[in-house]
Symmetry: D2
Subunit: 373 residues, 4 copies
Amino acid sequence: LTAGIIGATGYAGAELVRLLKGHPKIDNLKLSSVSYEGDRIEEVYLNFYGVVSEQLVKAEQVIDESDVVFSALPHAVGEQFANICWQKGRFFIDLSADFRFDDDEKTYSEWYGKTYLYPELHKKSIYGLPELNRQKIKDMASKEKLIIGNPGCYPTGALLGIYPASAIFDSQNSPIIINSVSGTSGGGREPQRIIHYSECADSVTPYKIASHRHSPEIERILAVMARSGSTEKTDISAPGIIFTPHLAPMNRGILSTIYIPLSEKWRITSSQKPQEDEIGCLVTRIHNHYSQFYKGEPFVRILPKGTVAATNRVRHSNYCDISLHIDINGSTLIVITAIDNMIKGAAGQAIQNMNIIYGYDEKAGLEAIPMLF
Amino acid sequence: LTAGIIGATGYAGAELVRLLKGHPKIDNLKLSSVSYEGDRIEEVYLNFYGVVSEQLVKAEQVIDESDVVFSALPHAVGEQFANICWQKGRFFIDLSADFRFDDDEKTYSEWYGKTYLYPELHKKSIYGLPELNRQKIKDMASKEKLIIGNPGCYPTGALLGIYPASAIFDSQNSPIIINSVSGTSGGGREPQRIIHYSECADSVTPYKIASHRHSPEIERILAVMARSGSTEKTDISAPGIIFTPHLAPMNRGILSTIYIPLSEKWRITSSQKPQEDEIGCLVTRIHNHYSQFYKGEPFVRILPKGTVAATNRVRHSNYCDISLHIDINGSTLIVITAIDNMIKGAAGQAIQNMNIIYGYDEKAGLEAIPMLF
Amino acid sequence: LTAGIIGATGYAGAELVRLLKGHPKIDNLKLSSVSYEGDRIEEVYLNFYGVVSEQLVKAEQVIDESDVVFSALPHAVGEQFANICWQKGRFFIDLSADFRFDDDEKTYSEWYGKTYLYPELHKKSIYGLPELNRQKIKDMASKEKLIIGNPGCYPTGALLGIYPASAIFDSQNSPIIINSVSGTSGGGREPQRIIHYSECADSVTPYKIASHRHSPEIERILAVMARSGSTEKTDISAPGIIFTPHLAPMNRGILSTIYIPLSEKWRITSSQKPQEDEIGCLVTRIHNHYSQFYKGEPFVRILPKGTVAATNRVRHSNYCDISLHIDINGSTLIVITAIDNMIKGAAGQAIQNMNIIYGYDEKAGLEAIPMLF
Amino acid sequence: LTAGIIGATGYAGAELVRLLKGHPKIDNLKLSSVSYEGDRIEEVYLNFYGVVSEQLVKAEQVIDESDVVFSALPHAVGEQFANICWQKGRFFIDLSADFRFDDDEKTYSEWYGKTYLYPELHKKSIYGLPELNRQKIKDMASKEKLIIGNPGCYPTGALLGIYPASAIFDSQNSPIIINSVSGTSGGGREPQRIIHYSECADSVTPYKIASHRHSPEIERILAVMARSGSTEKTDISAPGIIFTPHLAPMNRGILSTIYIPLSEKWRITSSQKPQEDEIGCLVTRIHNHYSQFYKGEPFVRILPKGTVAATNRVRHSNYCDISLHIDINGSTLIVITAIDNMIKGAAGQAIQNMNIIYGYDEKAGLEAIPMLF
């Protein structure tokens, strides 16, 4: 298979290059870049020296010569190329937000300040979270869909943590709180003050509180989940969420600490503070529920009880780690999820989607074992 | 004044040394250390070379020769010295948890695994959070109290963020969530795996979820606040809290992101999603409330609307920065607080307490301007 | 092939586990640990959870059941196991210093404070730097040698930088200066103060100046090179070296900045300061020399003129990057080498040696593309 | 005294603001900024919120209203303001390179690509390294000199390490090698790729090898030292130097590892490898020499034998720490110097110069005790 990457010199693009170069089913890579057209990628990324020598060409040429096209362009730039791919019958896997909102142009416009150029195209896309939509992704081609809207990094970690809880949480009660901490690579390769070394090293900084673009993405998918009745609880309305992103001095990783109020059926309701063993029992029930829910998932790891998810346990891998905890009062489920924002949160998940589309082993090219450092 | 520090070679002790050395009212320092008895402190901390040359002696000698004694010993080790100080009529400012629970030995024992050696002594102490107990600290001597239980680092940032909200939050509703991220210096000077460089660099790790010793401290003080009627709302019961600490790769600082459900009187109750200007108005009301609440406080900064607290804005200072935000649905107050865990969270607050006791300018010795890096 | 790792739970051991798990020729892994005997390695390294589940057994059992044995034990602990392997005819690849000194027990004893338990065994070993000794490693078995003394991390980066210069440097002149900066993982997994986060983050610290154990290793191999006439210059005496290691706040990587005085034949001798183009010519000559020297080497990259080696260009790979520069006066060659200390500096090089011994593709299991972060 | 800072919003400017705000002799601060004219500095640096509220005005106004003017503008921008100050009889302390070359316009032009606008002005300046030129700085006003060329950060650490060695080193032999590692703040506040977090974190990178602008500054001052006969050795010619800067992932600090070949008089010349006690004796002699040389210097600390200078021992202070070591062969002196690049390497040294000019205690405003973290 020949894979094309347009926007190959940003961080997500370069990560696609690295991972696809080692993918057993990919024979050729075609790469585009506006800024570095004509250069070889090893000249832009010296770490690729002597290993990845493909020349950077125009996006159109990449599309012409590829079987599947990954777009790592900024939001609202790639839609034109999606359209060309559509015309040519190519799969288009988009790492930007452009195809994450289906035909809900209103929400997209409100948060991204752009309108759809090709509204019809947005009915041809699937939200590429395999754990939610695997079957739909498998069936894409037969359903005349060719476009994957690859999920945002924060939504990936948040949704995988919340998804199994739809049967558990108290939809009548307070919102689900998603407190996330991200590494700096999510900010991309272009220098900017917030990720200038001296401004962000040795500090933790919240940002875009109650105003990050990933909020509506998370809310929309939670609503879809609720509607779809894909869970045992069918009359659920979408939960409210509060999402607060923070920046931490690390290169990779997103840790999400998610607070989910338990429904009456699940929470401990004794008037006294619960005993340790009551809490322990509840953790076990929930642990079993999550383990069952994600049984067979190649990239979700429900960590053993008593251990805690952390970003350095998934580093450089496509895993989403999940650890489960109960508040001392037995009323709130605390879910911790950890992903590598560049892999499961971007390039790895895109490749996972490609693997599903083509019927490859879902782990092909994504078998890197996590490294502690 | 002669100030003594027992346990001077741990990180909190060394920070006391550094700050007291530059304090305009302190003429002499007396330092003790079990591990390094006989050495000069500049031999232990080479950064002090040629600047702080005091010799490390026995704790008893320090107490003998000092007017005020700071204890930076581990929990349950310093109580004997508190008793000696009490016998001799010395002020004893304890940075451990031993005197943070007054006569509630039960809670202390449950969480710290020790009983009180001198139960009577625990009626002679004040919880040293000046913003809450300034008057009590001023009057200590006249009330036959000589002991300060200096607050924990996490509780300081959490309580200062929650304190003004007692008139605002919905006590009937869900718990207050305190999601905190700390630098590594809180773990102390003794090498241990969780703060071994390769294990914690470039990663964020939650720990002691729903089981950190600072939870009962926060809960106890919130209950005291509620009982004391120190706020306009007098019939309040103590709010439940969920406290989740995380470790981030930074030397100093604690950032607490606190989610406080608003009472009916304060939250926006329209059935529609609130308009931006409604949110803006609410932020302004709350901002005014907090500003008024902390008016004249020398070390609390309510940041301008639209800005966000971060640990690198309070680095090396005694400030607690607070920024205020409202959830997109107008129902939850998000308070961000940032402190330097070694200063406002430990040594600086201890000195602030000393300044109040002695009637010094509360800022004496604590005027360092925060450094971005 | 079944590979055994004794001492599998240290950092180098765990890195061997990770790399060998993905090695196309390794069917089984056998792992030992004294500290964690009976546990599964995924319980010690949560990053391995669900991926590497081998149980930790006794070293003797590992040796029994393996074809090739890697030892990641501390110095002077593994010799007994080398002897068992020898008795059983197993290859033994030792990551400690025990077999880096051949029969020069005197130097080993002087620097490591131990004597040889089995002096005969030290005649059966090869210094496992493939770029120097590839043929000898290939021929090991036929020469009745079964033991690899895997090079130290610093010596690997230093020797690869100096090796081609034997024809270039001025042996009569001043010593070669090797100024190296290492990441913290070289200090291992056991907590100790020098790599305690708060002691080493945000700082650079030289250590063991003129007294690091890797000095005699470098000197010995340089002398061997000189004697062996493996270069065009046959009458060379071993150059003196000055080696200064530093610790930097990074997880992985060693950067060596090496200052080599040029011999008369190579240096620019005009009495005037050389012109830019003279310098340029000299750089080109030397660049050609190095490129020629390492032609075909799978893991040495001579970087393009005008670029500079850095540790984040070889991260997680087995490459040694080399960049070449000339002092402004045209008299000193400045060689910069960068390696990942855990891979080319330890586990990767050990596997490279195994690949050579068994006649596998030398890159097998070591094809990871370097990551910028 | 009223102090003015032009270019107050860069990192060096902001550091001047912070230090001068706490200076006991400075009553008023006047600040200029082109980019933020009209704002208050606390709006640009939120860490200054509520503490430093001065408004940013035009440079001309700052000059009008100040007694002494600090310029933290980029190279070749401030000369016009130096001229205005000269006209008005104001002291002008320039942190750029413009006045570090006296009347040697040729060298300045070659390296900085600019010519002098006011050549006469460059005869009115002093190179502001107090340890070298204290008397000249004291006498400035009386000698009709009003301008300080504040030394570069790298030259400060290098020169203080080399200065006492003029009587010791072998000028006939090979060059002095200065291998320096700097934190990122030296790169300034403007975002750029080399100090973009993901590009420089967790890595060490050499840069501008044999081509950094601080090379000619170091060489020029070494030549001045040699000519001036300010040392016991009068017939010295300036030593050649090789200077290699590196970037490390830390906010502050420059560590210089300096290799100085010893003259025959000082080096150990036995044909055998020297004994440990011979080395020890030599270290003692050199240690005494350096200690004597810097006797009474308020900001130079010759560290005890057996200890090593590191950047986290001088953090946030104006100290230059120096540790002294001898190569194992007794022929090379290894001097390690550590400074805080923002303080002794920039703002602190500028204030030290001001203190000398005005006859204040040289330590006024610079008494911060170094912090380990």
